[in-house]
Symmetry: C2
């Protein structure tokens, strides 16, 4: 038997050993993921680690993903471009950060007065959300997936109580994005400030109020030490982070690794919501125990009504400007109405009937 | 080169092609799963199909799972024994069905006045729930995992309105298990009736009321045509189904297939909650549109208070009788209290502030 024949036999043997034609191709895939967050960022960073660990274990090491945090790639908001250009095969960030590139990426994270987390997952997976997100991202060669939910975000830390709309006038508040625009319509002065400067800005009255996330991530920021009022949320009822995958890199994976990657991302996203629920409950208990003077408040009804009205007007402007925006916003609003009926008669009616608040 | 050398070369080549020692062992695993449900049972049956499909795709066909519904194995409530004895490698059912075998299996599905779905997942994965469940099931050589959540179940369909505790006295209601025992303490006559006879029993006044699941599964049963009152839930706020795996069969799988199986079960469970949320919203809208006379009610506060008191007494009896029951119930109650604070200040405060009900 000649050496070439031996080699032929080896090739045939290697094919025979492959359980499915498109499964283990003998290749090892070494991917890189860029995330918006700094190293060891709690919860958000856990979601990427969780995803990469699941992929490694399920693929028996055939696909491994190195995670680069913002200290490494130096561009917290460059993730979209990294993935689009193929510099990184994957990214972890939030879709609403890309509204400057494409306004329609804005609607796949959360919306003020929008869906709760369970409603929004139902919209993504059964109400047309994934299909609409694909339509928006396809044109950039980027695949976008849910990347983990924070749950309902708190309305923020305030040094003074908000009793009427007048108290919003001139209020200097760190509240970025869409919600900031809503409050600006009511006379507030929204600003954005890097996270490292937030505590000092609030302490020195450079700002009067700020929103961050919720007890899960607020506790370690220390805001409860200098702002006695913690307001319940309206502006981000179900913030969903985002996994991004370069379409070309994905297409080059064997089918079993594609399935492993997709399911690991989905599970890591759900898992992050579960973790957020846990950490929020735990940290809220700590805040209440150690700082009993912190007062949790909801904006008075007339203030809520005015914010809601300003928000609806802003959304109408978006819908009027762009056909795809209109299509997405209509889908969200119709789905929210249908799902909310059930939420009201299930979890809400249940909680209300317990008479515990 | 002799033939034996060629064979040696083939063996070496096959080892070189195996990415990790414990990964693809070249074997194909053909498993069977027995489920409590009949064939094509919606949502519950979708959870097992979803799980098996993920396993097949992620393993490239190395692990496949055949699903036997109750028409095939003829023992809807024999699933625990099937898996324990190794007759089936896997099962899909609900933990509270096994309370006759071990009272402590009762607490891993849902409890009256217990946790909501998001709170309960947080307890399972971060609050010690999985560890307690393992402690209970280990002694049977069975692994137990969350198997999909229905969300908050409705309190049931009633032919007459419940205005006071007197209306519960003598009320013949199909409501099985723990919740039935609670209502019995208040003078109701709980019974269990096979699902196929429920509609006729209610129509012919053999029973006055019944509970099933919620809009997601109630719609196709047609109860809304003959019972005008649909009460909100208290007795199963977060019913979690169950995947079971025979420990020995699991131990024989290579590590990558173990990871694939575990993550597929976890994802299928989360996915079922998302699907339940969707189907409930959709079907509730259908009921409200086609049967506008259906009235959704919550039991009056004094009735709720009495049910809650009877429930607490029953739980105390359980805790007093069995040390492990006490340990599990204490864990659940402590966790529920901590998590509920957050639920009240997040989703509940948000929904209440919208003034939409």
């Amino acid at each position: 038997m000649k050496l070439t024949n031996v080699l032929k036999a080896l090739v045939i043997a290697s094919i025979a050993l492959t359980p499915l034609a498109n499964a283990d191709d003998g290749k090892k895939y070494r991917w890189k993921l860029a995330e918006t967050w700094g190293p060891n960022f709690p919860i958000f960073g856990d979601a990427t680690k969780n995803m990469a660990k699941m992929v490694k274990e399920m693929s028996g090491g055939r696909l491994t993903i190195r995670i680069d945090s913002s200290n490494k790639h130096k561009s917290a908001l460059g993730i979209f471009d990294f993935v689009k250009n193929g510099q990184y095969q994957m990214g972890h960030s939030a879709s609403y950060y890309w509204k400057g590139k494409d306004i329609n990426t804005l609607f796949f994270t959360t919306l003020p007065f929008g869906m709760t987390t369970s409603e929004q997952y139902a919209w993504f997976y059964h109400g047309g959300g994934m299909e609409l997100m694909k339509e928006v991202y396809d044109q950039y060669g980027v695949m976008s997936f849910p990347g983990g939910n924070t749950g309902n975000q708190m309305g923020g830390w305030f040094r003074k109580e908000i009793n009427s709309l007048d108290d919003l006038k001139g209020l200097k508040m760190r509240i970025p994005g869409f919600a900031g625009e809503v409050l600006a319509k009511l006379g507030a002065k929204p600003t954005n400030i890097p996270s490292g400067e937030l505590y000092t800005s609030l302490e020195r009255n450079t700002i009067d109020a700020l929103e961050w996330v919720g007890p899960s991530l607020d506790l370690r920021m220390g805001f409860h030490k200098i702002a006695p009022y913690y307001y319940t949320g309206w502006h981000e009822p179900a913030t969903e982070l985002q996994f991004m995958v370069n379409q070309k890199a994905y297409d080059e994976l064997p089918e079993d690794l594609q399935a492993i990657l997709t399911i690991a991302m989905k599970t890591a996203a759900y898992d992050m919501y579960t973790q957020s629920t846990h950490e929020s409950g735990k940290n809220l208990a700590t805040i209440q125990q150690d700082f009993p003077n912190v007062k949790i408040r909801t904006f008075p009804a007339p203030v809520m009504a005015a914010i809601k009205k300003a928000n609806a007007e802003l959304l109408e402007e978006f819908a009027a400007k762009d056909e795809m925006s209109n299509k997405i916003l209509t889908s969200i609003e119709n789905y929210r109405k249908q799902a909310r009926q059930w939420t009201n008669f299930s979890d809400r009616a249940y909680l209300d009937s317990l008479d515990e608040k």
